[in-house]
């Protein structure tokens, strides 16, 4: 393998079009004669719909049609596609428009189709809906209690599933016998994914060919094709889904939403193209939210610092309906991570999925794994506190020793490779941990409150083996496919089924192909996001595109290389075994002036004038790749903070991240993923959080109140790396799209709590706003 392009931090080829505004997003696509859709949404979190009077609205200028739930009987409800087994899962009906009961603020009850977006909104405001308010519950723990308002007749007690990992009695026995048990109620607050581009969908139906084209903001156009086909009844081969430029997703563009089904349905019904794009307010109300756990967690340890067990009961808020992948998030993607990088023999998790009068939740960057890593890291710090041990020493003592090819842990996962202590040591050295402890003590003398948080983590990504997907109820495969197609002039089109939307994969994957085949990186184009143009794939999420699609591309490239070697040998009248390859050129051993470039070979393959016996013409190969295992990136993150005890404000002074994602194809892009991930994770610790009032109104419905992270909240990040290849991946890479989010929340949280320890503060619900920190200090020392 040539190493020049592999490992080079070349600039992202996506950026010029993104930065100059030339990128074409869904809502940039103008369709001749299109009607605009506006959705009439419930202003109540829970209400009976008594009647809908659209007569006044129907007569307004430009209005072409108004439909309610009663009109869309031929559009099936949205399916839930992660049917976790052995959990008594209930999947309540999720109609595209609510017709009897609205279950969260933003639930659609009618749509208006009009000539302009303004007219559609005017008419939507004029649709008169008569509601009868019902009691509301938004907190998942409360919703699971007896007597709570009920959302769905077929979901008794609001409990959609009860998923259990481990043996409760065995775990309880360990806890009873343990020297130390620490416990905490942890609130994983709801978060708003806030992709830069809100969701949008446009649809066009061609009656002559019976074909539907749907342009939409999706991370997985093939899954959207499948679901749109299922809900509309159109055969899958007559549905084309196109993901144009997609401006970020963070998981929120995985699910198939009512709006996408409705534009598809209306385009066929009305015989006109339909456009819809949500406003930011709609985005906050109706695009999935993330997290929303109330966790009751215990950790057991021995007096000499051995962690013996983790036990948790999790109430996971599902919101009003079960979104596409929702049940898998607080279960499979959560509980299985309960030992992290530590040797812990006893784990138990009961995860209860609870329906609430809130926006549905689903995968949000990290999806289940941040919630697991947080509880683990929080509890490790608490054990350290209880044992009066240095949290770093406690972590070191419990780390899994290095392994290069497979290590089974108590949650039944088989980690692929890890060298946790190496990353740990590197990060501690970068932070100057021992010196810091001295500075901290000195600062305290001067009345300054410094704190440090250290997180060691590993996580499971590169989703994943399809057999495992099937075993855990995921209603799809998790393989990827790719085609490497070389034109006669030696230019490359790589067609992939995955659908990158901001990750820089067009650059990374081109570098990977270039390093395999020797074509200059600028001659390689990566094409994605269109079910008709690209081969099948399951989408971009779960840090899987480089690990899974990358592997498919590496293998397709290797097939091409073998073909090229054989053809080159034939053309040079040499034995294939005597052919040497370097940097895109095939030469005969011992006679270096005789050489064929990959481009020349590609041309000859296309011309097919002189092919070896049995070789087909053309220069193109495809590969389906089903990963044999997940990949497990890991690392150590460290944060140093100072808390102003007078105002409760937190200053994040240093942030050190040492991550190991195997060999880095493009270190700049890796750094970018870590930066972005850290920022999102720190924001959960410090400032982001959904607030609903008791009636289910979203109080954080705009960016005036919902605090997105801002650049000036952060120091320059100090990044480091170790390189431990994945043993099962063709080029050894692991995913890195979510590690920053997974590791950073507990890192900063623990740092703040470390700073506050001298003031007697032991727990604060996230986000750690100045007001909450101040109040906790007041409560702890009575304001003195």
């Amino acid at each position: 393998m040539s190493t020049r392009i592999f490992g080079s931090g070349i600039k992202r080829r996506e950026d010029p079009r993104l930065i100059t505004g030339e990128a074409r997003y869904t809502d940039d696509i103008k369709l001749q004669g299109a009607l605009h859709m506006a959705v009439v949404r419930s202003p109540y979190a829970h209400a009976k719909i008594l009647s809908i009077d659209s007569s006044a609205a129907a007569g307004m200028p430009g209005v072409r049609a108004i439909f309610t739930g009663a009109d869309i009987g031929d559009l099936a409800g949205l399916p839930t596609a992660w049917l976790i087994p052995d959990s008594d899962l209930k999947t309540p009906e999720h109609p595209a428009l609510a017709s009897d009961v609205a279950r969260y603020v933003g639930d659609g009850v009618a749509i208006v189709l009009a000539d302009s977006r303004y007219q559609a909104q005017d008419a939507a405001d004029a649709v008169m809906v008569d509601y009868e308010e019902l009691p509301v519950v938004v907190d998942p723990h409360e919703a699971a209690q007896a007597g709570a308002p009920q959302l769905h007749d077929d979901v008794e007690g609001n409990i959609a599933f009860r998923w259990v990992m481990g043996d409760r009695e065995a775990a309880d026995a360990v806890f009873e016998a343990a020297d130390v048990v620490v416990s905490e109620r942890i609130l994983q607050q709801r978060l708003l994914p806030t992709a830069m581009e809100p969701r949008a969908a446009s649809a066009q139906y061609n009656a002559a060919t019976s074909e539907l084209t749907l342009w939409c903001t999706t991370q997985n156009p093939h899954i959207h094709r499948f679901i749109i086909s299922a809900v509309t009844g159109l055969p899958e081969n007559k549905v084309r889904v196109i993901a144009p430029e997609v401006g970020g997703g963070f998981g929120s563009k995985i699910p198939c939403y009512p709006d996408e089904a409705l534009v598809s349905w209306a385009a066929k019904k009305l015989g006109a193209p339909i456009r819809w794009a949500e406003t930011r307010s709609e985005n906050y109300l109706t695009t999935i939210h993330g997290r929303d756990h109330v966790q009751f967690v215990d950790m057991a340890a021995s007096n000499d610092g051995k962690i013996l067990g983790v036990r948790a009961t999790v109430y996971a808020g599902m919101g009003a309906y079960l979104s596409t992948a929702a049940p898998g998030i607080p279960t499979i993607l959560h509980g299985l991570l309960y030992v992290g990088p530590y040797t812990i023999d006893n784990v138990f998790c009961e995860s209860i999925g609870v329906m609430t009068n809130a926006t549905p939740t689903d995968a949000y960057r990290g999806a289940g794994r941040p919630e697991a890593t947080f509880l683990l890291e929080r509890m490790v710090d608490k054990v350290a506190g209880a044992l009066d041990m240095d949290p770093v020493a406690l972590r070191r003592q419990n780390l899994i020793p290095p392994f290069a090819d497979g290590h089974e842990v108590a949650t039944t996962l088989i980690y692929d490779s890890g060298d946790y202590e190496a990353a740990f040591d590197k990060a501690l050295a970068m932070a100057g941990y021992d010196d810091f402890r001295a500075q901290q003590a000195q600062a305290l003398q001067a009345g300054r409150y410094l704190g440090i948080g250290v997180t060691t983590y590993t996580e499971m990504c590169g989703l994943g083996p399809s057999q495992v997907a099937g075993a855990v109820g995921f209603q799809g495969g998790l393989w990827e496919s790719a085609t490497v197609r070389v034109t006669p002039t030696g230019k490359v089109q790589a067609l992939i089924g995955a659908s990158p939307h901001g990750q820089g994969s067009e650059t990374t994957l081109a570098q990977l192909i270039s390093s395999e085949l020797g074509f200059p990186v600028d001659d390689i184009e990566v094409i994605h996001g269109d079910t008709t143009e690209t081969p099948m794939g399951w989408g971009t999420y779960g840090s899987r595109t480089t690990p899974v699609t990358g592997a498919a591309l590496a293998q397709a490239s290797r097939k091409l290389k073998e073909k090229a070697r054989a053809l080159a040998a034939h053309l040079m009248e040499a034995n294939p075994d005597d052919i040497e390859y370097a940097d895109g050129s095939f030469s005969v051993k011992g006679s270096p002036d005789q050489a064929q470039s990959i481009q020349e070979v590609a041309l000859m393959a296309h011309l097919a004038w002189n092919m070896p016996e049995g070789m087909d013409p053309g220069f193109e190969e495809s590969q389906f790749y089903d990963p044999p295992n997940f990949v497990y990136p890991f690392g150590t993150h460290i944060a140093i903070v100072e808390v102003d005890p007078v105002t409760g404000s937190i200053d994040l002074q240093r942030y050190i991240a040492v991550d190991d994602c195997g060999p880095q194809i493009n270190p700049e892009i890796v750094a970018g993923q870590i930066h972005g991930g850290v920022v999102q994770g720190v924001a959960q610790a410090l400032c982001e959080g959904v607030i609903y009032d008791d009636s289910g109104q979203l109080l954080t419905g705009t960016m005036l109140d919902y605090c997105l992270p801002k650049a000036d909240m952060f120091p320059n990040f100090e990044l480091g790396e170790t390189v431990t290849p994945s043993p099962h991946h063709p080029v050894g890479v692991k995913g890195v799209g979510e590690t920053g989010t997974i590791a950073s929340t507990p890192t900063v949280y623990n740092a703040v709590l470390d700073a506050l320890a001298p003031l007697g503060v032991a727990q604060i619900d996230m986000p750690l706003t100045a007001a909450k920190v101040w109040q906790a200090i007041q409560n702890a020392n009575g304001g003195n």
Binding site: I691, D705, M713
Partner: protein, 282 residues
């Protein structure tokens, strides 16, 4: 984010603006408060009269011991103005802390005070220093003191169709002053904003002007805190007394929400009073 239909007109002069404004019309200055409200359909005027290009409303002049700031002067112009920096530096500081540069380039002082968002920055300065607001209408002109101008939450002394033509600020170049704020982490508006202007005589504070916003439904002039500081050497005892008095001054007007409750804002008003005094002393 789709406003209702409205008419748009651009006015060239104050008289033209006053003649054009209709019963359900609104003046459009920087649009940075009005347009978001219209897009959320919280505000639904049927007519906008754009006053942002009327030269007579944009100037900043210093004369007769007072600054006259045009009703449509932008935050950026005020923050950068040498005249404001000399006569009332706290106002330049407050305007310089409004939003970000893009917001300051569009947003105007007149629009800011007409909108009367309780979390705004400039009003605390205006009430502290005893500024006044000159208002024109088809019936003529009147001037209202800043304390009377701010009536309640989003409520001012302005009547429909009235135009703020200037904001008049006394020349306090002989004072030491500062505006400090605790910004809301999401909006960066003030959770608490405090303006202090001190007339120092050696180590003794001759008199003090104190105004608070953010924590209150409207900007409040804090007579109790001012009295506690006057005649003191700004020692710890005086500061504690001023903080205690401030809490009474703002008590009636205190506001809060789930994220930043009243108790927190009230405590922070005291903290930021002390920080403003120390910033003013330099």
């Amino acid at each position: 984010m789709w406003p209702q239909q409205f008419d748009y007109q651009r006015a060239d002069s104050i008289a033209g603006a006053l003649a054009a404004i209709g019963a359900d019309g609104k003046f459009l200055a920087g649009g940075h408060s009005l347009l978001p409200a219209m897009k959320l359909r919280l505000s639904t005027p049927d007519q906008l009269v754009d006053i942002s290009r009327i030269d007579a409303l944009r100037g900043i002049a210093n004369g007769n011991g007072s600054l006259s700031i045009g009703g449509a002067a932008t935050h950026a112009d005020i923050a950068a103005s040498a005249a404001v920096g000399a006569a009332c530096p706290a106002l330049a500081q407050a305007c310089g802390m409004v939003g970000d540069q893009a917001v300051r380039n569009f947003g105007t002082l007149g629009g800011n005070i007409a909108h009367a968002d309780p979390a705004s920055d400039p009003p605390s300065v205006l009430v502290a220093v005893g500024a006044s607001v000159t208002i024109a209408s088809a019936d003529g002109e009147r001037t209202v003191g800043a304390e009377d101008f701010f009536v309640d939450l989003f409520e001012t002394a302005l009547d429909d169709g009235e135009l703020i033509t200037s904001i008049n600020v006394p020349d306090l170049s002989d004072h030491q002053m500062a505006y400090v704020k605790l910004p809301h982490p999401a909006s960066r508006y003030a959770i608490v904003g405090v303006c202090v202007a001190l007339m120092m005589d050696g180590d003794t504070c001759g008199h003090a002007h104190v105004g608070v916003g953010g924590a209150t439904v409207k900007a409040v002039k804090c007579a109790g805190a001012e009295a506690a500081l006057a005649g003191s050497s700004l020692d710890d005892a005086a500061l504690s007394a001023a903080v205690a008095a401030l809490s009474d001054d703002i008590g009636e007007w205190l506001t809060g929400d789930v994220a930043y409750p009243e108790a927190y804002r009230s405590a922070m008003a005291g903290v930021f009073l002390k920080r403003a005094i120390s910033a003013a002393k330099g």
